[in-house]
């Protein structure tokens, strides 16, 4: 079954880039407001959208790959985070982080 990655990113262009990156890896993308089964999340933890998604999942959140405009020290990293990347991370770095999540 195809893995589903939820993307929560406020900027439309960056969102498009992330969707493209995720699809190229062969995963399915899920919009932030969509419900349903999610295997991993790629999100900007320092924006309202990212925070509301994290709230929605609460303790049941799947592994999160953070991609933020703020450094890790700024304290936006959620508990479910497994990787923290600072923008502009390259597509390769994002892909590596997602592959790590799924152990491929």
């Amino acid at each position: 079954m195809t893995r589903r990655v939820l993307i929560a990113e406020p900027d439309q262009d960056v969102r498009e880039l992330l969707e493209l990156t995720v699809r190229r890896l062969g995963y399915e993308t899920v919009a932030a407001n969509e419900h349903g089964n999610v295997d991993a999340m790629l999100l900007e933890p320092a924006c309202a959208m990212g925070r509301s998604v994290l709230r929605r999942f609460g303790a049941d959140a799947p592994p999160v790959v953070c991609l933020s405009i703020y450094p890790r020290e700024d304290g936006f990293e959620p508990a479910a985070s497994v990787a923290y990347l600072v923008k502009p991370a390259s597509s390769n770095e994002i892909a590596d982080a997602l592959r790590n999540v799924f152990g491929v």
């Binding site: 900027d11 262009d13 960056v14 498009e16 880039l17 493209l20 990156t21 991609l67 405009i69 703020y70 450094p71 020290e73 600072v86 923008k87 502009p88 991370a89 390259s90 597509s91 390769n92």
Partner: protein
Amino acid sequence: MQVARRRYFVTFVAVAGLAATWGLMMAFGWSSKLGIVTFAPWVALIGFDLGLLGGALAAGSSIGLWVIANHTSGVSVDAAQIAIRTGTMLALAVGSALAGRRLRTSEEAQRTVVSLQSALIDSTLDGICLTDEDGEVLISNRPLRRISVEVGLPLSGTVPERLLAVADKMAEPERYRERMRELAKVTGTSTIDEFEVAGTGRVFRGYTAPVSNPDGSFAGRVWTLREVTADRELDRMRDAFVATVSHELRTPLTSISGFLEMMQEEEQELGESGRHYLEVIRRGTERLHALVEDLLLIAQIEAKRVELQLGPVDVAELTSRSVEAMRPSASDKGVTLELVTDHPPIVQGDRNRLTQVLDNLVSNAIKFTDGGGAVTVSVASADGDVRLVVADTGIGVPVEEQGQVFSRFFRASTATRLAIPGTGLGLSISRALIEQHGGTITLTSAEGEGTQVVVTLPSES
């Protein structure tokens, strides 16, 4: 008011003395010579505008007495003697009146200058004082006394003693104390220091400079104290603004560089010119990215939020890596890049931050050196410390600008004239990072001949 009252009193005494002397002279028939001698002090004492009046009164009364004497039988007065005495007295009165007026005018002028000067120094915002060679206060202004009271500076003692007395109230008492001790020793140079009063957030900037006698010898020092709390607050706001903007810039940078990556994967489908355009965009994006990161690092440094990940570092090895990384750009420009190392001691440092400094210094040297020139990087041990020298034969920095090269956004005129790209942040970041390692960084340069940057880092022991 007091001055005017004193003047009337003096005039009164003088006129009374003159009248009494006149009476004695007439009664006992003194000679005109004796008359002049005894009148002179009184007339001189009048010495004001009233001197003229006194003279005229004296002349009038002597003529009147002469008329009365001539009409009174039994008394004979020599008219010629009266005329001589009167003339002499008039001349004395006019002379002293003129002298008195001149004296008073210059006195008034001096008083005006003095009161203007004290009004001037009292009405500035800065506290100002002048000290003698021992540091004792010769003159101080009102704002200084006000600031002293507010900060709790004692109002007696030499200035260095007063400054030391409040060390415990400062945000960094040890550093402040040490600095003030240094200040008490220096005589020949002017210095500017900033210090924060703990708990209040108030920041003061102190300036002191030597003052010379007219013959050039050391007379003392001038000290000024200015509150710069508002300026520092503005700085903080500006830094916060720069940080916010820089963080926001990371979003568009992400889409630009991300899609650029995707395009590069399909580079072969682009024509020759398409590939060239892509390369230009890629370079521009890299520069923009570097600028944003530099701005953010500067903001972090300013906010003292950079934490070093300390570990043992072999500076020679780190330098060699930096030099190798820069070799392609040096050979592209035709610049000879040479590395000389002996075996310097291991230092405690942050590998990434030191690499950042090394990359910056080496790339600067290459950037500012024309083809055919040379860049020499040497790492050696010096008195147990590590000494790194990056020397180039490039365009150099004019002497008058060398004091500013470590300031944020400063760019040497030699660089801007040649339109060499840069942000003026590299050396400022380097200095902050090196100083955080407990090291020093200095730059010497001769315009048109080259530049030498020397970094020393304390070794582990």
